[in-house]
């Protein structure tokens, strides 16, 4: 049952109710506050460990590539859908681009082919969901499995090719050229390039989701698809576009991941969808659709990686990580349910 809360209009009055209302409206404040608390606490308690270039650069690098996937997932959840294929798209993209490079395709050509292929599959899945009416949970689970199987086939082919046709330059799936690795391994100001790419992509999508008329449509569709349709929004096309965006961003993440690692691997990216979902829910994006902000999703993602960093610095046993992550997700879901009940009027 929704609680209808009347806004307290008395100026200058501070009340817990006001604070809760503020947080309910701007849920990105929760992960942001937690990040600020974490930074201050660890800067004070572990200054020689936390405030080092290794630690900060590693933390931001660890977050930067999944940030692409988090942005795609946020759009999908706001849109009222879900995309469980993102991790498998990352996996497929990493082995596909590596394989194409080993086969002799120029680096930028290999990247373009990989990303375009994934975007095309994303479009097909979008058509299945928005056009045919297949549930996005099932559709993306299926497409994810297909991407995974395809990725394994591509890796086997590429590995066999590399073994049977030794490259005079020593290139194979496990030894990719510097011209490709430099896309992710070069540093500027002590931070590897993916950090800057992530900043750019985050900035673009934060602005688009908050200012662009087109992207704001995802909120209306997520809140009420039928009403959005009646108001003139082209729901099907817009939904299909979301799947294309999600697949494209995940594919870019896969390319960056293999460039960063320097070798293709069938394990890279698998499971990333769960972290992405955790991140966006912590950031205030609602499972029900129509709510949440891109900046909240980004803060949620950054918070997840801050928690990992905190556990490492405090030497917590590694089997505690998943427990903590699960508890954080549960808390976020409970908060989401509670805040969703509050309808602010006035």
């Amino acid at each position: 049952m929704e609680q209808t809360i009347k806004k307290n209009k008395t100026k200058g009055t501070f009340s817990p109710g006001k604070v809760i209302d503020l947080v309910a409206q701007k849920r990105w404040l929760i992960p942001l506050t937690l990040i600020v608390v974490y930074v201050i606490a660890f800067a004070v308690l572990y200054p020689s460990v936390f405030l080092t270039k290794y630690n900060l650069a590693s933390l931001l690098l660890e977050f930067s590539i999944p940030a692409f996937v988090i942005i795609g997932m946020a759009i999908q959840l706001i849109n009222g859908e879900i995309d469980l294929s993102v991790g498998y798209v990352v996996m497929f993209s990493n082995v596909c681009v590596a394989c194409l490079i080993v086969l002799g395709v120029p680096v930028w050509g290999a990247i373009a082919i990989t990303v375009l292929f994934c975007a095309l599959i994303g479009w097909l899945v979008g058509v299945l969901v928005a056009g045919v009416g297949v549930n996005s949970f099932i559709a993306t689970l299926g497409s994810g499995m297909a991407f995974y199987g395809l990725g394994l086939m591509v890796f086997d082919y590429g590995y066999k090719y590399g073994t049977n046709n030794p490259n005079p330059n020593g290139l194979d799936l496990l030894h990719l050229p510097d011209s490709f690795k430099n896309i992710a391994q070069l540093q500027i100001g002590g931070f590897q390039l993916p950090v800057y790419y992530a900043l750019a992509v985050i900035a673009v999508f934060v602005v688009l989701m908050s200012k662009s008329k087109y992207f704001k449509q995802y909120y209306y569709i997520g809140m009420n698809k039928e009403a959005a349709e009646l108001s003139g929004i082209r729901v099907k096309r817009t939904k299909i576009a979301a799947f294309v965006i999600s697949a494209t961003l995940s594919s870019l993440a896969g390319v960056l991941l293999v460039a960063r690692m320097g070798s293709g691997a069938t394990t890279l990216g698998v499971g990333m969808e769960l972290k992405a979902i955790t991140a966006v829910v912590i950031g205030g994006v609602s499972f029900k659709g129509g709510r949440g902000t891109m900046i909240g999703a980004v803060f949620g993602g950054l918070f997840v990686y801050c928690v990992n960093n905190a556990l490492r610095i405090t030497n917590a046993p590694s089997n505690l990580y998943k427990v903590i992550e699960g508890l954080i997700l549960l808390c976020a879901v409970i908060l989401d349910a509670q805040f969703s009940k509050r309808k602010i009027v006035g």
Partner: protein
């Protein structure tokens, strides 16, 4: 008078000799007491790190953990474990990188993948002595590798399977972790040795991906056996392979027709030998990985051997670059000695 002079000089000479002897003795005492101080040096605040992903595998818990606990107790140091619980390379790399500011006294990295080279190099550049254990990352700046010689692993498996393939014509397939250097080395050893011992057997070049999962191995090998009746041997280069290969051979009803060999000799691998599906389990002496790994790092830090007097300046390492820990080959002939009961 003359006699008194002689006596006087004799007395002086004796006093001088006693004095010199006493100094020498004192110096020797000082030296031995310096040695005693070195031996009783407080190292309780020294921390050595073992970095591995999927690090709570029973294989690690039953072997590597024991080795590191033993050496930690013996030396009086602390050995810490870092890394993700699951197979997650980016998280593994991040764990290594984020350990650097904690400035451990040394780090052992299990070389799951060549991509760990960057993280290992960062640790070395930060002044943390870093070695690889179990599987190597040869493209990195690591100081030493402690583990099995994986080329020899492949050789041992080929030597074990060769008698079963005598006079037969067919194929042998391999399964492991294609991305790992140890699998590449083992595959080379197996292929080259079998080419000499069983020249009528074609070793399929491609190494299939075990994904560290026995079920995946069973499905992959099962599919291979069903699709190609010329396969006579399967070699596994990852711990999950033995049980997976065994299951596949049994399910395909090929016991006695297709033979498997595998790495590691844990209880589940021993059982496969008793089942008749695996003819050799080449067990690694895993306790040694971490035991000698910590030992190497400790010796690097407390080095007493200097070849030139300027070793540190000119980059001469005080520890070996490779410590080969050997194998224990379990076969149907000796399996009774390895009965876990």
């Amino acid at each position: 008078m003359k006699r008194q002079k002689v006596m006087k000089w004799l007395a002086l000479a004796m006093a001088g000799a006693m004095t010199l002897g006493g100094c020498g003795e004192a110096k020797a005492k000082n030296s031995s007491s310096e040695g005693a101080e070195t031996k009783t040096e407080d190292v309780s605040d020294e921390v050595y790190v073992w970095a591995c992903q999927h690090n709570s595998l029973p294989l690690f818990v039953n072997n590597d953990y024991i080795g590191m606990d033993l050496i930690a107790e013996q030396l009086g140091v602390t050995v810490k474990k870092i890394g993700p619980q699951e197979i997650d390379l980016p998280a593994f790399v991040a764990a290594i990188e984020q350990e650097i500011p904690q400035k451990p006294d040394g780090m052992m990295v299990v070389g799951w993948d060549a991509s760990l080279a960057t993280a290992i190099d960062k640790a070395m550049e930060a002044g943390i002595p870093t070695i690889t254990v179990d599987a190597d990352v040869p493209d990195s700046q690591r100081l030493c590798f402690v583990g099995s010689n994986w080329y020899d692993q492949g050789v041992e498996q080929a030597k074990a399977i060769a008698p079963y393939l005598e006079g037969k014509k067919g194929k042998a397939v391999m399964i492991g972790l294609p991305g790992a250097n140890n699998t590449v080395e083992a595959a080379n050893g197996y292929t080259e040795t079998l080419a000499k011992l069983a020249p009528d057997i074609e070793v399929v070049t491609q190494v299939y991906d075990a994904q560290s999962n026995a079920q995946v191995v069973a499905e992959t090998v099962g599919n291979l056996l069903k699709s190609d009746s010329s396969i006579l041997a399967v070699a596994g280069f990852e711990s999950a392979c033995g049980p997976g290969i065994s299951q596949a051979i049994k399910e395909a009803d090929m016991v006695g027709k297709v033979y498997g060999t595998c790495v590691d000799a844990e209880a589940e691998h021993i059982q496969c030998i008793k089942d008749g599906t695996i003819v050799a389990a080449c067990g690694q002496k895993r306790h040694f990985f971490t035991y000698y790994g910590v030992r190497m790092l400790y010796d690097y830090k407390h080095n007493n051997i200097d070849f030139t007097g300027h070793d540190a300046e000119i980059g001469i390492s005080p520890i070996p670059t490779e410590v080969s820990t050997g194998f224990i080959v379990v076969t149907p002939d000796n399996v009774k000695y390895f009965d876990q009961e």
